[in-house]
């Protein structure tokens, strides 16, 4: 159970399976590739929270040297899945054990040789990853094994490691280098259960004769060491035991029960698996494509706060705390960003790399001119600050962790509100504050006024932030002064006045809340009509010339998102009307969309629609087949937010409770 298997080999699926069969421990991720693969096959050992930028290219997370490279020759014939001599091939992801398996049977000289390998990234020690290789043969054969650390790294915008040094000899291999930008040392060390003779770089070789019916086993225990981190030795079986114990514990906390629905159960398990392998182990957060690679610069988006946090709050509260603390810790960078645009308060990075905004002003390349297109995600998608504040408020609502709030949580919330206050303009004719020139969750419509999601989210940020601050000032009179010391004078009065006058778009006669000023006046056409207007399959739908721009077609849930986050803000009637209104216009161009509609459907009692949207979302990485490349840029990877959103729908909406709750 809970094993994802795939038989047979197809070269076209190498990249997709790299994502689908990913293993990880929150800090390290290792793609579902094979022992004999290299950079060309997108082998990736991704490190969370470690970023590097090479001049003129996008900064992104660093991939480490690959300690698990291995190419075997049996009687001179390479045991390579891409060869002609394959009898059978299967890969498997044992989600219960957090382990990747591979078994390939080769026909060699009239007999069969079986190459079995497994690998896991320790759920206990953040820097540890282990692999076991087992070779068996029907006949006596000679084996020639080349194994060790492959220093040829797959990078999207690399190379990131320079001054590379490698070593291999005896039962030890090592590759070390420094990041280009900050010179941070990155070292991969590996011990082998059998001595090797160095051939080149971090690689060595083993030559043995294997008797019919016997096995040759090679264990590798590796560590990825960043900075001055040292390491302690261990062996495969000890590490494996601790790893499996931890996974059993994780599943006992996390597993939901789909009540006998096998497809839903599997999809749900798979989603939970991905959430578990992303649970952070340190002072970093979760990237939009998780640990599956460098896509989207390995940066942290609002996905984490809105789609992932609920899972961790319920299942792994200490991880939830890390996620919210990540934002509190990066408050100075958010203040810096706000200041750089001429505003007060905290404007969080749209694509956060430890607080730094990795988002480019030219985030899209025109498919016709191949020129970069000026985009406004970084500058105008201000709702990120409301999302951050929302997460902190939610976290506090759940934990009542006063200390966290006093130690920066509340200051962060108020800073986000203050940002919106200074960003807003006063409409002196209509006597109200407005948030102008923003981008809402639906990125296809850039630079709109009074996006409903954005206005309400900041309204609630300010309102709840002020209420909490007043509570804290009373509860901890001694801390009072300190609580507000880094905030502008009279911040609470100012925010109160602001919330009283902030424009909140109201439902119209049909109960519909206009997504932004003028949305109703856009061309009333559906998704397929708009799609049919594309002149190139990879055209960007938004911007000024996009097919969706002048129409009502939206990239993803927008107004609907607001209802998910604040279900009590509007009556079920209003929520239903908006769901029915906006769904036909929604392209679901973001993996955040289906799960949002799944959650929304749950909240208006549409179980069937919710169920099918939940499945679409939970199976997104099982299905694969999505876009992996845009021009020459790799954009594939796993979709944690879809997994997290599916989990929210399953747990809070579809009633797929926890296993132990039902026993």
């Amino acid at each position: 159970m809970k094993i994802l298997k795939e038989s047979g080999f197809s070269a076209e699926k190498i990249v997709e399976n790299g994502n689908k069969f990913l293993i990880g421990n929150g800090y390290l991720g290792y793609r579902g590739t094979l022992d004999e693969f290299g950079a060309k096959e997108c082998v990736g050992l991704n490190i969370a929270g470690l970023y590097d930028g090479v001049a003129g290219k996008w900064r992104e997370t660093v991939n480490a040297f690959n300690p698990f490279y291995c190419l075997i020759c049996a009687d001179g014939a390479p045991l390579d899945v891409r060869g002609e001599n394959i009898f059978s091939h299967e890969i498997a992801l044992d989600m219960e054990k957090g382990t990747f398996f591979r078994e390939t049977v080769f026909s060699v000289g009239g007999g069969r040789v079986t190459l079995f390998s497994e690998r896991f990234i320790s759920a206990v020690e953040k820097d540890l990853l282990c692999s076991r290789l087992r070779l068996t043969s029907e006949k006596n054969i000679s084996l020639h094994i080349t194994a060790g650390i492959d220093a040829d790294i797959w990078d999207l915008n690399g190379p990131h490691l320079c001054e590379v040094e490698t070593h291999c000899g005896g039962t030890f291999a090592e590759a070390s280098g420094k990041t280009q930008e900050l010179g941070i040392p990155v070292r991969v060390v590996c011990t082998f259960s059998h001595p090797l003779k160095r051939v080149r770089g971090g690689m060595g070789e083993i030559s043995i004769n294997l008797k019919a019916g016997e096995s040759f086993v090679l264990d590798r225990v590796a560590r990825v060491l960043v900075g001055e981190e040292g390491f302690s030795e261990t062996d495969f079986l000890t590490a494996q035991e601790a790893h499996r114990r931890e996974w059993a514990r994780l599943w006992s906390l996390a597993r939901l029960d789909a009540k006998g629905d096998a497809r839903a159960q599997f999809a749900l398990d798979y989603s939970v698996y991905h959430l578990l392998i992303l649970a952070p182990k340190g002072n970093y957060s979760i990237a939009a494509r998780g640990l599956s690679g460098q896509t989207y610069k390995g940066a942290v988006f609002w996905d984490t706060e809105i789609f992932l946090l609920p899972f961790y709050m319920d299942v792994l509260p200490q991880c939830a705390k890390r996620l919210v603390e990540y934002r509190v810790n990066t408050l100075p960078a958010a203040r810096e960003k706000a200041k750089s645009y001429g505003f007060g308060g905290a404007f969080y990075a749209w694509e956060s790399q430890n607080g730094y905004d990795a988002c480019s002003d030219f985030n899209v390349t025109d498919v016709f001119t191949h020129r970069p297109v000026r985009t406004y995600f970084k500058e105008k998608q201000i709702h990120i600050s409301a999302d951050v504040a929302y997460a902190i408020l939610k976290y506090y609502g759940r934990t009542q962790d006063d200390e966290f709030m006093l130690r920066g949580g509340l200051e962060t919330v108020l800073s986000c509100a203050e940002f919106a206050r200074t960003y807003s303009y006063y409409n002196h004719v209509k006597k109200r504050y407005e948030l102008l020139d923003v981008i809402g969750p639906d990125e296809y419509h850039e630079r709109v006024n009074n996006n409903a999601y954005t206005n309400y989210m900041f309204y609630l940020t300010a309102k709840e932030g002020v209420a909490l601050a007043e509570k804290f000032l009373k509860k901890y009179p001694a801390c009072g002064e300190k609580l507000l010391e880094n905030l502008p004078a009279k911040i609470l009065e100012k925010l109160k006045e602001w919330t009283e006058k902030l424009y909140l778009p109201q439902p119209n006669g049909e109960g519909i809340i206009e997504q932004f000023d003028g949305y109703f006046r856009l061309e009333d056409v559906g998704v397929e009509e708009v799609r049919s207007r594309l002149c190139h399959p990879n055209e960007y739908w938004g911007g000024s010339g996009g097919v969706a721009t002048a129409t009502r077609v939206i990239k993803q849930a927008d107004v609907i998102m607001l209802f998910n986050l604040y279900p009590d803000l509007f009556s079920e009637e209003i929520r239903r009307a908006n769901y029915d209104f906006y769904l036909p216009y929604t392209e679901h161009g973001s993996s955040l969309s289906r799960c949002s509609y799944a959650i929304a459907a749950c909240n208006i009692g549409r179980r069937e629609e919710a169920y099918s949207a939940f499945l679409e979302s939970a199976e997104i990485d099982l299905r694969g087949g999505g876009k992996q490349w845009a021009g020459e840029v790799y954009i594939g990877g796993t979709h944690p937010a879809a997994s997290g959103g599916a989990w929210i729908a399953a747990f809070y909406g579809l009633g797929f409770g926890k296993k132990e709750d039902l026993q």
Copy 2:
């Protein structure tokens, strides 16, 4: 003197010469085409101020039936300039007489046949146009002449006339129809000096034998009658005499003296000629391409107020009054437009067709996708209302015409200011009003904040409007109430408070006024670098994906324009610094740009630069060769604003005074 000539015939120049050799009388324009040409050769008899729209196409001015069609056969050989039998060919525009001439000598049966024709549109009677045809031959020949009214009209977005009826017989021909949209009757009648036998439609034929050395003359006297207009008969010579007298009078008023500089004199005469043939005869204004056709929908832009009005104020004050009255008369439509966008006051049409805004929300077609691109000219180019107010204030400053101001002029100015006041937002952090989300004269940068030109122009509109209103309330206490009766309560107090707090961008340390918020942060590259990035010659430079968008490259004078309109606003030092700063970034993608720089150069004592920019501007239609077609849309025509701007530079800057002033 003052005759523009061109010898020889080239089919490629048919369209260009149609513009270059245009005749007109402010109401009617007739392109410089030949007798034997038809719709395919862009023969056009354009009517000012008469608009029609055909379903699904742009509304535009109506072209009338062509009364001057004529095809001659001599001994069976067609006398067509496109034929093989051309001995010589010349066309001429006698600017002094407002008359177009054509002389073509054909080789027919060993002898020469000369086809001479002239035509003029009466400078005296607005609906009258005359033509004289003279045929001479070296040998006896038989002539077969087909002449009459060609009802096949060249239209960009037509056909505009339906229910067409034609008649021809004796010395009379007629074609009549109705506009599609409003059913307005349009009738062209023509009398001939020789009877015709009807052949088809409005055409008849004449067959005669012409003796060697003798002439055959055919005069045609035509009228274009719109609505229920009737007509009176006249003959060619009577009409010609009155016409020439009027042209002599016009030139005596208008001619400037370039002090012996023959090139400048000719360019200046040509510019003045174009301004004279556009002087309106009724309740309409001047279109951006004058009377040369339907380009830009025959609509009236800010060109008229800013670049043309000065000439008429100096030379033909009654025409200047018509121009400003056109805006006063269309105040209701401007109020309607403001209201439709949710604002108060008067928001003038970006492309005015008697007040109606002809500008589309999709004014550009993408050259790669062939899809319409959402543009914001109509919605965001709010400075049009300031330009209108500026013209009225200037007109009043010159004429002190209190009655005009009391009869709507002042109400218009205040309504324009009120529009800007309600359009503006209050920046509650910086304690000032701002004009957000606008397009300035430089259209390549859409949706910018605090465009300096726009902010200052509205500031001065409001300030001068209020001052005038206060003066009038004192001077005419009886009219006081009526003056403000259609304006919001306390309008003057409101506008005063607004002007006190409106943000006016100030020169920076180097004396440069930032064109709009953030302009200085744009990529600092020049025009040629940006041009080199084009992937298609007809690409639009602006919008979100244009090559200029993210750079400092601008379409036309913007900050510099402000200095031209209010030379005393800033010191010469500041004006010089801005001139030097912005000129290298200016693409001059608009014909309004060179003349603006010419005027600006005059104002900072750069005579040489001014002179060369003046010439570039004054010769724009002499040079021709500009873009005539964009994809399948004809965009060519004359450039009155460039003529008007050249005149301003010549008269006010270069010291090319009036002839009589110098005698």
